[in-house]
Symmetry: C2
Subunit: 339 residues, 2 copies
């Protein structure tokens, strides 16, 4: 069945089922001119949005609609994590052509609602429109954070250590295999599966972000969406500081290393420039670094890696490569319009 057969209102009716996970504080969900809710009086409201365009941000040949739905919300949840916040409510704008199947939209919405449920996020509104030339998804996500726990990008200080959660490079390796899989059929299935999963199903680091915020130790934080090099550069520019990263300390997903070896591409480049790993990158005073690494290991069994240090602005943003040579860390990564 095509969505032209059920129309806009039929579509909204289907999407709006089971959208309120936590009705507390919700006055109106989908179905009025606006959604309406009570914000927590003692919290700061956080809000972020992402627009995803077919064949730019995703290709339907490499992901299922359910995966696409989950990831669309996950990348926004990751932005809330990077502020130390908790996600609360989301609005979904969806542009699709009239001959899109209802089943496709159902699965896409199902994916969004699955991810929403996992993080206790209410779907409270949105828009559904005709988009003849391809699928467009815009997700707006509202979250909140205690005023004394919010972590900005702009407050890193020279001398701080630079820490990253988890392991990088999986998403970039996964994307290569998803797009050019037939060229690399010799790669063991379990390895291929791991990196593809890293690309298709990122897990936003909400719990890690909350612990980092709660401990009040981070002087700045960002999520790695465009690549370690680009996102570290954003922290440095916003904070007017420099940085030095040690290539030897950058944690690379073992499966990504394996893929790099097999397809003769540098796995460090996946980690530095690949993006879409959705790990948290943050800075802390050296005195507090070891503690947070231990604490998150203990509470969540997640590895944190100290990968470098914040420097004075005039020292620039550098990386000491595996040969011990210090070079500029180029903020290569995804830049829209320049591709």
């Amino acid at each position: 069945m095509k969505i032209s057969e059920i129309g806009e209102f039929g579509l909204i009716n289907r999407i709006s089922r089971d959208t309120i996970i936590n009705p507390k504080n919700i006055l109106l969900g989908i179905g009025d001119d606006c959604a309406a809710y009570y914000a927590s009086p003692d919290k700061i409201t956080l809000i972020t949005c992402d627009m995803l365009v077919e064949n730019i941000h995703f290709t339907l040949s490499t992901c299922s609609p359910r995966q696409l739905g989950r990831k669309s919300l996950a990348v926004n949840i990751s932005d809330i994590a990077a502020m130390g916040g908790i996600p609360r409510h989301t609005l979904l704008s969806l542009g699709a052509s009239s001959d899109t199947s209802v089943e496709f939209i159902d699965q896409l919405a199902e994916g969004i609602k699955e991810e929403a449920k996992l993080f206790e996020v209410n779907v409270i509104g949105g828009d559904t429109v005709r988009s003849p030339l391809g699928l467009v998804i815009n997700i707006t996500l509202i979250g909140e954070v205690e005023p004394d726990l919010v972590v900005k990008r702009s407050t890193a200080r020279p001398g701080d250590l630079i820490i990253v959660t988890g392991e990088l490079g999986g998403s970039a390796a996964g994307l290569i295999l998803l797009l050019e899989g037939e060229k690399y059929s010799a790669i063991p299935l379990n390895i291929a599966k791991k990196v593809k999963l890293a690309h298709l199903s990122p897990v936003p680091r909400i719990k890690e972000g909350r612990i980092i915020a709660r401990e009040k130790i981070a002087t700045s934080m960002i999520d790695i969406s465009d690549g370690l090099a680009s996102d570290l550069t954003r922290i440095c520019e916003a904070s007017a500081v420099g940085a030095k990263v040690y290539a030897s300390e950058v944690p690379i997903l073992p499966a990504a290393k394996e893929v790099g070896k097999l397809i003769k591409r540098d796995p460090l480049a996946f980690a530095l420039y690949g993006g879409e790993d959705y790990e948290l990158l943050f800075t802390v005073s050296p005195k507090k670094a070891e503690n947070i690494v231990k604490l998150i290991k203990k509470e969540l069994d997640i590895k944190l890696s100290i990968i470098g240090e914040v420097r004075e602005k005039q020292e620039g943003i550098k990386i000491e490569n595996l040969q011990g040579k210090v070079v500029d860390l180029q903020p290569k990564g995804y830049n829209h319009f320049r591709g």
Copy 2:
């Protein structure tokens, strides 16, 4: 100059100038993982979003980028007006092809910021992405309203009178002239200009909505985006009531009447089914109807028209036409995917 020459970050830098009109309560605008603000502790948060797709919602041959920008925000402000609220902050997601000119984007952003300034709305965030197949705009707008003043769609009661602000049909007449202008070159310029303006530059009824809310007299309210017939049907469905409208009482913009006569189209149809007039449609107890009509006339010099009454659900949604015959009021209007 094309936007591919300045890249995503160059574009964001240009758009993010002069975006905070009212810095009170804003912690972070554009430039971090999320925007952050303090919600008013004694208010309900309202939130709405609209996605606009090139050649579906707008055609660049009929509007300037500045007009498009203003209208994109205005239609969302209208949704806040329909809840009795005040608009506060907006997020703009923009998809455009790499060969879009920087001047075009500048003017589009200028239009959004002009409208934002007029209504004291801060532009606090957004996303800019590549969209090879055409322009896509998603506006998310946050507003607020006092808990005892919020007006829903779902609380109209049989016996209430139905009232509409201003005059209808101008936008539909204007759209016809914009799309098929060469066919109708005999229409006087001043008439054509009025209806085109009604389509291109709608004025959201924030002041009217605030008075209606403040007086606590409306039992339901909606803004007319899809046409009087469709939007009244939404109130009736949400409130589980019927309605009777008198065609003779529906206020039609004189210029729209004139256009109807000249192009041999029924101006009442423009008013009932045309949509995009962005007037407010609300219901009140009969005892309070005359008062609110007088009050808004006095305070804002805006005409309100009592156009019908709310009935029991089983009576259906009817219109007494100009010949005195009572017929079903069909919720014709814009339905995406059925188009």
